[in-house]
Symmetry: D2
Subunit: 387 residues, 4 copies
């Protein structure tokens, strides 16, 4: 493949992050196949024009079906609300387009499997947007696990804590409506934790969870941008139909145990996306609010200087670091997307599937749904049941 002409659907929070990543890739990774920011797609023509100009897209269309049908597009980037993922992805696959889809892949496991099958059948590239895999510090954790430097993994604990809807007057945005978002904190935040667990520890064997919706009704939203929104005074209220928090326990196929917590009601946590891995030879801890850092403990350290090290993953020894700034000069949230698209671009150049792809998206969806089933049926659910 010599070029990668992108048609992107959506231009809000994720659309902005993607645009910035496409635009930045050639400057920092000049050897990568360069994505061409060809066509931006959205329903509101005026807003779309403004966004395309601002974000740097060459053309616009207001109908995603038209976009999918265009000859001059190689890849469809789907970051529309979750309920639209499936239909677009199926059409894109049918049209022979490569697909990048934001997580969660779909509203249901069945849908996500249909998307995977369609993409595989069409022989196109498919990728899913688990961007946190692409933090240099997370890559370092992966390297420590894979190289055996942490030994046998005993325990994985992960928590994604936010507080953006703590205020009961925060309005009923689409992310709080099951029919659009699929689920709440579980699919939004927990999905990232599950993918990191798959990436860092391996397959999950069984799960049991619990969910709670603390604020059952909220005022209808007047407007929403990114994660912020406002309601008019005296706005009528509607029911919140997703979970505010979901916790679950897991047993991995390799015998490790796991705990997962996702909540939007943890006061003081703007976006604490954290995990810890305990192995027989060491441990690592990560917190996305300090994403340049990984805390590393190795039992092989001399006995009087054992302790968690704060490793700043900005040295030449760390993934991606040399493309950026000198050691100690940090990067931010948006860079995970640039690295993600480096993988997409590299896969395109090499004619292989990028990772993580729809297989990973399906696997994540299976766990999400197994947890939901375990909540409903109040019992342990094995992943082997999720057929």
């Amino acid at each position: 493949m010599k070029q990668l002409r992108i048609g992107m659907i959506g231009y809000k929070f994720m659309g902005k992050a993607h645009s910035n990543a496409y635009r930045s890739l050639p400057m920092f990774f000049p050897k990568a196949l360069k994505p061409e920011m060809a066509v931006l797609c959205g329903r509101n023509a005026a807003a779309l024009q403004e966004a395309a100009a601002r974000l740097g897209w060459s053309d616009t269309v207001t109908d995603w079906r038209e976009l999918v049908g265009r000859e001059d597009i190689d890849l469809i980037d789907i970051n529309a609300p979750s309920d639209a993922h499936k239909e677009i992805a199926l059409a894109a696959a049918k049209a022979g387009k490569h697909i990048f889809c934001e997580k969660p892949l779909a509203l249901t496991l069945a849908d996500s499997r249909e998307m995977l099958e369609a993409a595989e059948e069409a022989g196109v590239m498919h990728m899913v947007g688990f961007n946190y895999r692409f933090s240099p510090a997370v890559r370092l954790a992966k390297r420590l696990v894979e190289s055996g430097r942490l030994g046998q993994i005993y325990h994985f604990r992960a928590w994604f804590l936010q507080d953006w809807i703590l205020d009961p007057e925060f309005p009923l945005v689409w992310r709080l409506q099951k029919e659009i978002a699929g689920s709440g904190s579980h699919g939004d935040l927990g999905a990232h934790l599950i993918d990191l667990a798959h990436f860092l520890v391996g397959d999950i064997h069984e799960v049991i969870g619990m969910s709670e919706t603390f604020i059952k009704e909220r005022p209808l939203a007047a407007e929403m941008t990114g994660l912020s929104a406002k309601a008019n005074a005296d706005a009528p209220k509607g029911p919140v139909t997703v979970d505010d928090a979901t916790l679950f326990l897991a047993r991995f196929a390799n015998g490790a145990i796991g705990s997962f917590e996702a909540t939007r009601f943890a006061a003081g946590h703007r976006s604490t996306n954290s995990f810890e891995i305990n192995g027989s030879l060491g441990s690592v801890k990560f917190d996305f609010e300090r994403m340049n850092e990984l805390e590393v403990y190795l039992t092989s350290d001399e006995e009087d200087v054992q302790g968690f090290r704060r490793v700043l993953a900005t040295d030449p020894a760390h993934d991606y670091a040399e493309a950026w700034w000198p050691p100690g000069h940090t990067i931010g949230f948006e860079h995970t997307f640039i690295h993600e698209f480096l993988e997409l671009s590299s896969a395109a150049a090499e004619g292989r599937q990028p990772v993580p792809n729809f297989h990973d998206g399906v696997k994540c969806q299976a766990v999400l749904e197994a947890v939901e089933r375990s909540v409903e049926e109040r019992r342990w659910v094995q992943l082997s049941e999720m057929q």
Copy 2:
């Protein structure tokens, strides 16, 4: 009551901590009723003599039955291994002695209830050794919850992580044998988390847990002191019959959700006893390795300076602090016992039951056992079942 003459059974890790606390109480809390370190009890006469001299006890006996029967003793302090708690406590109650018992109160819920009933019937004081309640920073957390400054409590998460038996060659000490210890990380570490949950959040409605024993066999121990121990080379192996790690989820009676993790296999964690509480108006975080500190977040802070504060609980405004050193001059692990015995001593002087007492011990035991049942039966267990 004018005096409090103590007879103590056990002189290892806990016995040393208790002795130090009895001895220190009058110096730092001179208004408190002074405990008299009267009689120390243990089976090995030589070791007992040495310990009594070192720890400051006036007399010794090698038979706890004799101790319980002595006229010149007001209170029996039980810090023998867990399997001995019940028999001693029942005898002490029968003899009309007040009782301080280390946690866990007993090996089973039934036993702990029997102990409570015996103590209540005898009309004696009873207290259980949940010493972490007596950290000034934990008291501050309690104050913030009780005063409503954290609002409605949504989420309690707690984790007690150690790594003292990470080495597979660490021997099979009594704490790893079910018939003596009752359980492993669950009863040893998890019990403290459960008590803190009761103290800070309230009653638990239902639980579901999972347990794992990562190392199934260990060499038999040659000697043990405190938490350290050694095995002889080529020592035969025996089965580990307790859990290395136990995790559980909980729903509180007040609607809050909870997660609990206790493990002895978290490399790098010497003794991380931590919790976080998220409420509608704020959050607090605690880690016993930095026991003088409480992190506090309040939503009422001005919008541009919101963040977790690191409060050093050594100011005059904090519990116990004025008895100690100037602000910023920290205290340590052993001080929790001094404060614990201040409560014991105050209760004695005021003719009331100390807190936490056997009611709290039973409540903790009920949760421990409910979790164990949930592990065995792989289902949610309600505390109301634990009759």
Copy 3:
């Protein structure tokens, strides 16, 4: 002004940071006057071509005199080595071009004054690259000082610690040669601290310092990129003619006291650029390795919850934050340049001088040189002497 056509000299570490910033400005601050990346200038034609293509510049020239003379350029961005700043700036001013110059403005105070005078005489805009002012967390510190929320400022302490030349075999790059770099850690790192002191506290009245060069000779460099470099085996050695570390004490015009430490020999510090300000009503602490955070202490907090708060400056209440990502989603080193050019662009649109400008560069240079004089003459030097 309707456009801002940039001609930039230099394309290594700073050139890359500037290019990225020019390119990113319109996407994240669409209302700002858009800089046009017109002409890139460097001496090595082949490397220049590659850089221009990679960094996104439309045209190239190999002679800066030609660049300065071009009609289609509005602003000259100087990030060549420090010894070239003056000559270029004088020519640019003479040609009526606006000027952005990296710090340090020049090798001497006299030179920097000449540059300021030339720019002022020519009536052009001038700006100096003190990018750390543009961290949101630093802006928050400024706001707290200016609004009086910290009260009277008593003490400013600042330290910029690196370890990039700790290895004695690290080669003799231009940054270690006085005739090119002017000074070592002092002008490179200390300059940033001095500017932050000016920005946050105010004018300095007098200083006294000490300097040290720990490694006096190093192998000659074979190649250098950014801050990294290599020497050939058996490379001959040359003398290090700049300071490895410079410390100084200061008294501010407003009575505050100050301490400053700049070193390239602090093992473990990749780029710790930190300051603390203590005032009569509160304190703030900053560390650029955690640049999204400001620690804030306010004496007005309730007496039992006083402590440094870790404020993540990513909330809507913080400068620049709304242009970026939701709360808790961090930014990095490169973003300081984008904000810096936002100021440049805003000043151009509004027809005013940007801040910090050559006045600030001269002021910084005066302190740098006063410290150097104090080192040589082993005495306190007042800034009023630096005429």
Copy 4:
């Protein structure tokens, strides 16, 4: 020596810390020569009685001359206000008593030398109370320096920050009066930093400093206990005659550079006693508010896991740790005194001088006074001048 009968002068903050340490030593270090808490001395008979009973002293006298003359006393422990140190120490030496003296040894260098000479002439043991040397984490730092694991020491920075007199209405206690206290933050806090510098890095060659008194007048004190005090409303004001903050730079005999900051005006710092040491092979950082921890960086770590480790100095590998609690169970401020008296007791048993002794006290005083001279004369002062 078979016993160590103590006569102690003073029973406030330090007297309480000493009493607790004497009392605790035999329990935790049973092999050490046991100090006998024989006689407590103070001027106010009633308060003295109460203190002796509370702190555990057998006898009392109100005249220190009487104490010094008693046959049944082996060692005089001086923790009276600083202006009384010299006279008592000289008398004690003359009477052939061993001497423990709190820091600062005396109000002037000349006085401290006289004390040293008297003690040496009398052939008695002498020790000075630099208790921070006895933190396990500080001992670990010492071990890392001495064993060469940090390589050549380049840089020592230290800061002791408090805020206990930040409030301008805090009264004029004796610690703020030059004739009693000798100096302010410099002698009180800076003295500890200087001693740590001597202990960890070595002799100081030259210094230059600056001092400031931010609040020049304060209300006269009505009462004072430890570090806290109150003034009556409408109390008359008196002049503060000591420094509120003193900073200085230093060059060590071994070529290392140093910076020192002592202040009582750092809002939010209750008692931040910190240092950092940078060597050619590694660095360490310490903060007494987290006294159980030492941060350690070693350049020999593998290149992808380099970072400061948080070492909890509670492992068996650390000094004193086995006498206390299991790993991860922390100790506090008061324990530094117990370890200090362990040294005193060990020296007594072994018939040698304890360390630190009056030589160290004199050395510290010389630096304190050299800094004061450098402040007055506004110039670098070499320690060789301090004859």
